[in-house]
């Protein structure tokens, strides 16, 4: 069994117009910049994919990664908890102009909805958002005298995530807080594509420290020295590069 993919272009080649794509990362930590840029490259070349629904905690920052994907006009809808950042101009301008749909979800509910999608739990109850605008239209139920909101699972066609070490069977470890949503998204997508900083043979990861078991991963592509969104933005980088 070998889940490695030779290059980034191949890694993102299955994503089609209108699909739902979960993208790992919390702010810049864990953002799979190279996978996102490969998707942008494809759009530059072919005009596709477009009309994507993207699931991420944020809405991008600056003009690279998720912000660049939005700037490229590829995202029709964003499902996120916090579309603010140091420089959220790309999303903000498009949103205020009515050019992108936003589904705002409390962060813990977003995480749990994704986990539920991966775990075969179609709905669950949470105290979060009870009595607020974000609970409008959702079923409410009382348990032991306290009120809870029913939330639905969230699934995706693709997940694009970044891991630290990955083996050829798709077992993954992550680096510090870059873990965040990635292990959940891996479970909730029909196709999980991972850029790993270090690719090893099966057996190269201690079975005790595997965070994402290979069953949740469909493809692994090695990106040895990945860019960090925060660093790119401090250098005012744009993607695609401004000539």
């Amino acid at each position: 069994m070998d889940k490695t993919i030779p290059d980034l272009a191949t890694a993102v080649s299955g994503i089609e117009d209108g699909m739902t794509v979960m993208i790992g990362g919390f702010g810049g930590s864990g953002a799979p910049i190279e996978l996102i840029h490969a998707l942008i490259d494809r759009h530059v070349r072919t005009g596709h994919p477009t009309g994507l629904t993207v699931v991420n905690n944020n809405a991008g920052n600056g003009h690279v990664g998720l912000a660049a994907l939005i700037e490229q006009g590829m995202v029709g809808k964003l499902i996120c908890s916090f579309p603010r950042s140091a420089d959220p101009k790309v999303f903000t301008d498009l949103y205020l102009a009515g050019g992108i749909e936003l589904e705002l979800v409390p962060q813990g509910t977003l995480a749990e909805r994704i986990r539920a999608g991966g775990a075969g739990i179609p709905a669950f109850y949470t105290p979060t958002s009870f009595g607020t605008d974000l609970a409008k239209g959702k079923p409410v139920e009382e348990f032991e005298g306290r009120s809870y909101v029913q939330e639905r699972w969230l699934k995706a066609d693709y997940a694009l995530i970044k891991a630290d070490t990955g083996d050829t069977m798709g077992n993954l470890t992550f680096r510090m807080a870059a873990r965040n949503f990635a292990p959940l998204m891996a479970t909730a997508a029909a196709h999980t594509i991972v850029q790993v900083t270090r690719l090893v043979e099966a057996g190269g990861i201690d079975p005790e420290v595997v965070v994402t078991p290979g069953i949740f991963v469909q493809g692994v592509v090695e990106v040895p020295d990945p860019a960090q969104e925060e660093v790119l933005n401090r250098a005012d980088a744009h993607y695609p590069e401004v000539a």
Binding site: M1, R115, G120, M169, A202, G203, V210, P213, G214, I215
Partner: protein, 224 residues
């Protein structure tokens, strides 16, 4: 009547349908034997409810590590690429549809795919384990079983009389006499022992068999 297949031969037959790279859960007991017959060039990854993916065969006697066991509490071994995880993650794999195949034993299978394999009725101590999760989780749920009970009553029936494990969940039965698919609420015969007549097979089956034009011979190696 034709000599029926041994449990080992049934396990062998079931193993032939497991694709290379498939994630597979084998039920406790008899189904565990399926792992021994992976066709050459194919490698399945075995999942066990108690938190191991990609484990290997049993260790030599005396070499057991009792922290490294399968759901049947039998000792197993590590293989390159094994991963450990807790029970909630383990059943996220099951319930979330990540397993390609689950192969279970059966007391009864109904023609609509209902399975009864956890309780023989109100007497004794009931035990369910992970069976009810597996039947609604794996992409394909297959059963391996003797075609009839010890007292020769059909195990493939019109309606289960024993408490159900799951509703409409089984899609293929590997029995000691035949391979039968469940399609649109009917038993569809795919393979039967060459020496067994269709009438004989029907007489040992508790619901009508659909007989397609092509029914293959069920042939296995000599295995005891």
């Amino acid at each position: 009547m034709a000599t029926k297949l041994t449990p080992t031969q049934i396990a062998w037959r079931a193993a032939q349908d497991i694709e290379d790279g498939a994630y597979v859960n084998l039920g406790i007991g008899f189904p565990e034997m399926v792992a021994r017959f992976q066709p050459p060039g194919r490698e399945a990854i075995f999942h066990t409810e108690n938190g191991i993916l990609g484990f290997g065969e049993a260790p030599a006697p005396g070499e057991e590590d009792w922290d490294l066991i399968n759901a049947g509490k039998k000792a197993v071994t590590l293989k390159p690429g094994t991963a450990f995880f807790h029970h909630a993650d383990s059943f996220a794999m099951v319930r979330g549809g990540h397993l390609d195949v689950a192969i279970l034993g059966a007391y009864e299978v109904a023609e609509n795919g209902d399975l009864a394999n956890w309780s023989t009725g109100p007497k004794g101590v009931p035990a369910v384990g992970g069976a009810m999760d597996l039947v609604h989780g794996a992409k394909r749920v297959a059963v391996i079983t003797d075609h009839v009970t010890r007292d020769n009553r059909p195990k493939l029936v019109k309606t289960c009389s024993l408490p159900l494990t799951g509703v409409g969940c089984v899609t293929r039965v590997y029995s000691s006499l035949a391979v039968i698919d469940i399609e649109n609420g009917r038993f569809v015969l795919r393979e039967k022992l060459p020496a067994l007549s269709l009438d004989e097979l029907q007489s040992l089956t508790g619901a009508d068999l659909v007989i397609p034009d092509a029914v293959a011979d069920l042939v296995t190696p000599e295995l005891t």
